[in-house]
């Protein structure tokens, strides 16, 4: 598996670190259902067999956080973009 970093180009998997799914959004801690929303955010996952939006860190290169859409059935990468603030987990 190789990931095409927007800065560095196509690089070996060994340069990257995986965080996890990009879709969980941190809930508002002040909301009424915060306790159950945080359980959902921290623990529950869609875990799709198919395209999965996920965060990777390019520690062996430009040190950017990337948002990668990758098919979990065959490891084919559909898209790679720089992660943006407010987009998800980190």
């Amino acid at each position: 598996m190789r990931i095409k970093c927007p800065y560095c180009g196509e690089r070996d998997l060994g340069e990257f670190t995986y965080l996890g799914a990009a879709d969980p959004k941190r809930p508002d801690p002040g909301s009424a259902d915060a306790a159950s929303a945080f359980v959902d955010y921290v623990y529950l996952r869609e875990n799709p067999a198919g395209p999965n939006a996920e965060f990777w860190y390019h520690g062996g290169g430009c040190r950017s956080w990337l948002r990668v859409v990758r098919d979990t059935r065959n490891h084919e990468i559909e898209s790679v973009a720089l992660a943006k603030p407010g987009e998800g987990k980190p």
Binding site: D12, G20, S36, V42, N47, N52, E54, T72, H75
Partner: protein, 415 residues
């Protein structure tokens, strides 16, 4: 047919022509008292349902052929060297059942309690392993802290004076070891079949029918099968199957690789793990070294891994045993893991009446097979958990009662 020395002798002298089919290949009936999905832990579950709870009008559904899933893709290690009380008692129950399994099933499961050594390389790691060993002994499980010289007697060819990772000693569980994984499948299948359980191969679940909050049965590639009780034991694909019933799980699917070398004369007598990286190894009865390492670390249903982990495993192996350098790897493969959010399994009822869940087995499912089957059978038959699986409830995440053996938090690829 009961297997014995006499039956072996008789059939041996008559050209081995009299051996019958070991289990039937029945067509699925339209309805059962219970349906177990998954022909791994599910086989064990069906066996104990029939044996302990008298439920014989039941079926096990396997989407491939029997043994094609994780139960035939693991590295066959059994151990109960867990530190947390919930895990420890459960895996120790599995170990006790392993010890009597061949007699129980009347099938040679080749249980080999050759001992497992967790090698350590530094003083802090010695402390950590001593703590684990003491926790095990407090709970009645065998554990011994071996000195460097004691390890040298067992593994004279290891690299004791490695510049970065010298061997300081090891934590040993003498009762740990290996089991022939295929024999476990065949033994449970034969014993369950003898008690009337229908084992239905090539039957994939495509839907779960629920009415008024109660289970009605499962849609499969071989038609609808009605059942008032359905147990899901499909680790690897739990999220996908549970989603058919509208359940989201605290689980990610991950991939772990394993390797086998060409056959060798007896070299490694025990199961050995490297403490400064990710590498573990045992030698099969055929002579090949069976070894593996860490997860690849990203979500995957592909059942194949990537090169960085292959390199990492090889580096770990060579740091421990330099004499492996010239061995050729015969084959490698990957298994599909149900990584739970705390690294411990989940066996519980669901909010849907009659639907039961056994999942989140991480990379420790094989060693748990007998206890998992026994406990899951109890849960399905009695609609209540036995004492062993109370810590494994699905709601433990919401209650903050996680069982995080490695202390990694909700990050499945680190467990």
């Amino acid at each position: 047919m009961r297997y014995s020395a006499l039956s072996l002798l008789t059939h041996g002298l008559t050209g081995n022509k009299g051996w019958g089919q070991v289990w039937r290949k029945p067509e699925p009936k339209p309805a059962y008292d219970a349906v177990i999905v998954g022909g791994g832990h599910g086989l064990a579950t069906a066996y104990y349902l029939a044996k302990e709870h008298g439920m014989t009008n039941i079926a096990v559904l396997e989407k491939g052929y029997l043994g094609s899933g994780n139960i035939g893709r693991n590295t066959t290690i059994i151990r109960s060297n867990y530190m947390l009380p919930g895990n420890n008692a459960f895996y120790e129950r599995a170990m006790t059942l392993w010890e009597g399994l061949a007699q129980d099933l009347n099938f040679n499961t080749m249980v080999s309690q050759r001992g497992i050594l967790n090698v350590f390389h530094s003083d802090p790691q010695r402390n950590a392993y001593a703590r684990r060993g003491n926790a095990m002994r407090l709970l009645g499980v065998d554990a011994e802290l071996l000195s460097r010289d004691q390890v040298r007697k067992l593994l004279p060819f290891a690299d004791f004076d490695n510049a970065r990772f010298p061997i300081r000693g090891a934590l040993m569980q003498p009762r740990g070891g290996t089991v022939r994984h295929d024999a476990v499948v065949w033994g449970y299948a034969r014993a369950a079949d003898e008690r009337g359980v229908d084992i239905i191969e090539h039957c994939e679940v495509t839907g779960i029918r629920v009415e008024d909050g109660k289970i009605k049965g499962v849609e499969t590639t071989r038609g609808f099968i009605a059942a008032p009780k359905v147990g899901l034991a499909v680790a690897g694909n739990s999220s996908r199957v549970a989603a058919m019933a509208g359940i989201r799980l605290p689980i990610e699917a991950h991939v772990i690789q394993a390797f086998v070398t060409e056959g060798l004369k007896p070299l490694i007598d025990n199961v050995v793990t490297f403490g400064a990286g990710h590498f573990y190894v045992s030698q099969s009865d055929k002579g090949g070294l069976v070894f593996g390492g860490d997860l690849d670390g990203y979500n995957s249903y592909a059942q194949r891994g990537n090169l960085p982990v292959v390199e990492d495993v090889a580096e770990g192996g060579l740091a421990l045993f330099p004499n492996l350098a010239r061995l050729r790897i015969l084959r490698s493969w990957a298994g599909l893991l149900d990584m739970s959010m705390d690294g411990s399994p989940i066996i519980d009822k669901t909010d849907i009446g009659g639907l039961y869940l056994s999942c989140g087995w991480c990379y420790g499912g094989f060693k748990a097979t007998p206890a998992s089957g026994e406990s899951f059978a109890y849960l399905i038959a009695q609609d209540a958990p036995n004492g062993l699986i109370r810590p494994f409830r699905l709601d433990r995440y919401a209650r903050g009662a996680v069982l995080d053996e490695k202390g990694m938090g909700a990050q499945p690829n680190l467990h």
